[in-house]
């Protein structure tokens, strides 16, 4: 059975929140900015013809081209269109702010608590408090990490140099245990 990836409690709790406001685990928790075209369109027919039934109207548009001609001929609709553009502007600004906040939030969560390179659809195990303490200690300390890696290599070399017979097993045991412990810790932070 493949080894399950380990994640922090924070990461575990971030998943359902991200699932709602992003494309979800399936899409690497990517986001997409709000799109009027998508909101006001649908596919129809066997050939997938796209039917669009609204576009964002900007206030300046009312002074040009078709709108200007139409409103000149039917000024009674001017107020209606002005109100429509006003609402469009409010909605557009709110969606942009929402997108901006969301983007920052998702980026922050991803950079601090989530391993961005993980396949989020794979199963995971939540780290214990003890494991989490080791993990946070190692993540913030490059010197310790390097020392551990060096010690792991040293132990491997030592173990290779020791006789492999049964009688020497007690000699190898403490070294093996230490190596296992180091390997486990390094795995926690995805270094091996």
């Amino acid at each position: 059975m493949a080894t399950k990836r380990k994640i922090s409690k924070k990461e575990e709790l971030a998943y359902p929140v991200l699932e709602e406001i992003t494309g979800g685990a399936k899409n690497g928790y990517r986001t997409k900015s709000g799109d009027w075209y998508q909101m006001y369109s649908t596919y129809s027919g066997a050939f997938g013809y796209r039917r669009v039934w609204a576009r964002l109207i900007k206030p300046y548009q009312l002074n040009y081209g078709d709108f200007a001609k139409f409103l000149q001929a039917m000024p009674e609709y001017k107020e209606v269109f002005e109100e429509m553009t006003k609402q469009c502007e409010i909605a557009d600004n709110a969606i942009k702010t929402f997108d901006l906040l969301r983007e920052k939030f998702v980026e922050d969560i991803k950079s601090k608590f989530v391993n961005p390179n993980a396949n989020f659809e794979t199963e995971y195990i939540v780290m214990s408090d003890e494991e989490e303490a080791i993990c946070s200690e190692l993540k913030g300390n490059t010197d310790k990490l390097n020392a551990l890696k060096a010690r792991a290599i040293e132990l491997q070399e030592k173990l290779e140099g020791l006789p492999k017979d049964r009688a020497s097993a007690p000699l190898r045991k403490p070294l093996k245990e230490e190596l296992e412990e180091i390997t486990k810790n390094l795995k926690l932070i995805g270094e091996i």
């Binding site: 359902p16 494309g23 997409k32």
Partner: protein, 188 residues
């Protein structure tokens, strides 16, 4: 060549405006409310999130998340607030737009069930006056048709040589004027 329908200037201008803001002439200038679900949808079909509402933040997963990471609560609250603002504005926009399209269809379009993709001619101001007059008084159409037949019979009974052209001219002119009027209603 098939006869072209005629439309008023107002209807022609309404087509141009509605074209971009409804499904257009192909789909009878149809419009409906926004699909909130699709706002963050990509063209490849995956949904890049959804607009959260303030109620969502009371859900267990959010509560648990905020308990462990409280610094994100204000951000998500602000997001929910903005989403609410957008939702309200779009609902209002939809409401106004649907009412506008309905009104235009009822009051500006002469026949909302026509094939809007068919070619048309825009009536001149003069034609518009005649059209409105005949539309208001449809009983004027049968006498016009009768007069047309009468003029056609009279013209057929006249000598067709060049010397008689001045004789035929007033009849011809009247006939043309009647035909133009009847054409506005596709009656000629």
């Amino acid at each position: 060549m098939a006869r072209r329908r005629t439309v008023s200037k107002a209807e022609h201008l309404a087509y141009e405006v509605l074209k971009d803001h409804t499904t257009g002439e192909r789909f009878q200038f149809y419009t409906e409310k926004a699909n909130w679900y699709d706002i963050f949808q990509t063209i490849y079909g995956y949904r890049g999130g959804r607009l959260i509402s303030p109620y969502d933040l009371d859900k267990t997963e959010y509560v648990k998340f905020f308990k462990l990471m409280p610094k994100y609560k204000p951000i998500l609250e602000e997001m929910a607030k903005e989403a609410n603002k957008a939702r309200k504005a779009i609902e209002r926009y939809d409401e106004i737009k649907l009412a506008f399209v309905k009104e235009v269809k009822e009051q500006v379009f002469e026949n909302p069930k026509i094939n809007f993709e068919s070619a048309y001619l825009v009536r001149t101001d003069e034609q518009e006056v005649i059209y409105q007059d005949l539309k208001a008084n449809p009983d004027k159409i049968p006498p016009l048709k009768d007069r047309k037949t009468e003029l056609e019979t009279q013209l057929a009974g006249m000598p067709q040589d060049r010397a008689s052209a001045p004789l035929r001219k007033p009849f011809k002119e009247e006939l043309e004027s009647i035909i133009n009027q009847l054409k506005l209603f596709n009656e000629a």
